[in-house]
């Protein structure tokens, strides 16, 4: 695999559509990240995460020739992971029941510094508070917050993943933060 470490995802993707063995390089690069992302979207069962992840890679491989090199490969594979997870929720008639909290502290700091939560609300909120509040947000807001603050995606990348105009992404993030602030204030009271 070291032979391919210098290649970009996009280059590997283009070649992997002809040489299947290269696909393992894609899996190595994305297995952890996508697994985390699926958990952050609200799938907790490890086996189910693995099943979804497997479906994601199968779908990616199947549609590899449809990959548009003008997009980033990362956005494309995240989009597939997002769609597969949503389809899992639909099939199970489930709603995400919680949130992955392993790195919520880091996310909280990013979010907090972003709109001065502590200053404005004078709250000593811990990361697990954020993890409790996030699942209460409507799906559209939760999705953008996860991508922006957990996955650290740019607005353009989020736009490509969720297939939304960048302007709508900015609006959703703004509203999501406002709502989050309201929830946190409510918790304080």
């Amino acid at each position: 695999m070291q032979l391919f470490s210098d290649l970009t995802d996009e280059e590997i993707a283009v070649r992997a559509s002809r040489e299947r063995f290269l696909f393992s390089a894609i899996m190595t690069r994305y297995q952890e990240r996508l697994g985390r992302y699926i958990r952050r979207l609200g799938v907790f069962d490890k086996e189910e995460v693995e099943d979804i992840l497997q479906d994601v890679f199968v779908k990616v491989y199947k549609n590899l020739q449809g990959f548009d090199p003008t997009l980033s490969f990362s956005s494309w594979i995240y989009r597939i992971a997002h769609n597969e997870t949503m389809s899992y929720f639909r099939k199970k008639i489930l709603r995400p029941q919680g949130h992955y909290v392993a790195d919520a502290e880091k996310v909280f700091l990013t979010l907090g510094s972003n709109f001065n939560l502590e200053k404005e609300l004078d709250l000593k909120i811990k990361a697990d508070v954020l993890a409790k509040v996030l699942p209460k947000l409507p799906k559209k807001y939760r999705e953008v917050l996860v991508l922006r603050y957990y996955e650290e995606k740019s607005y353009q990348e989020i736009s490509d993943i969720l297939r939304l105009p960048s302007g709508s992404v900015a609006t959703l993030i703004h509203r999501a933060k406002k709502l989050l602030k309201k929830f946190l204030k409510h918790l304080e009271e």
Binding site: S17, R20, F23, S24, M27, T28, Q31, E32, G35, E50, L53, Q54, F57, V58, Y61, K62, N63, L64, Q65, G66, D68, S159, R163, L164, P165, S166, G167, S168
Partner: protein
Amino acid sequence: MTLEKKENFSEKVLAELEKVKQTPAWKFKIKNLLFWILWVIFVVFGGSLAVAAIAFHTRFSGWNFYPVTHGSVGIFLLDTLPYVWLLIFIAFLFIGYENFKNTKHGYRYSFAGIVSFSLLCCLISGFVLYSIGVGKFLDEDFGKHLPFHHPAFEQQLKAWQNPGRGLLTGNVVSINFEIKTFVLQDAAENFWQVDGSNLVEEDWQEVLLAEAGELRLLGLNLSEVENNFIACLIMPWGEEMRGHGLNRSFPICGESNCDLPPFPDQKEIFDPSSCEGLPGYDVILRMKTLK
């Protein structure tokens, strides 16, 4: 995930991939092309046809005469808007929007952006089609087969075939210059004895003689039984309307089949000797003078 577990997972997926057949690139290209083609069909083609029909219908729905035919702009619009074409247009725009959104990069554009762009395309191509006569064909010839749609000319004729409101339309059959009267056959094939003594000389010379044929009259229905009418103003239908409907048979607008609200009883407010007090008379007279 431990390294061992990761490797197991990779092997499992790679084994699964053995059974998977990749979708060829041309299928993705065709899919994208299909969405563009559908957008072109619904917006550039369908939408512009609807715009051409709407433009034609709007232009010939009788704007100039709304003070006498309908009394107010609101009633006029309610009565004459081309609802069917508007609905078709909105449906085409919506279907076009859905297709555009599904093209490769369509999701990057906002709803307002896509709709504005589609609207612009429809308007440009729609007015080109209108200028070559497609709008007329759609509203008149095709439109008469559309359920719930009344072509513009038909609506105008209906509005003018209303002697109770002082509106009459028809063909001039004979003229008697000595006693300033003429006989008119309306669209329901009734004959009317029309008193033209209130008409100015220009009307006699320029309209009755020069245009002799399809006319619209503003005046007073003196006797419904004897079909006597006093004409205050007469106007030709104009080039666009010529031959577009007076050969059709329309019933006179009466209590049972008239959609328009009634005017006040004209015999109480109208002076037949001078035409004063006739609703809309001043407006139409001013319009005729300006011409």
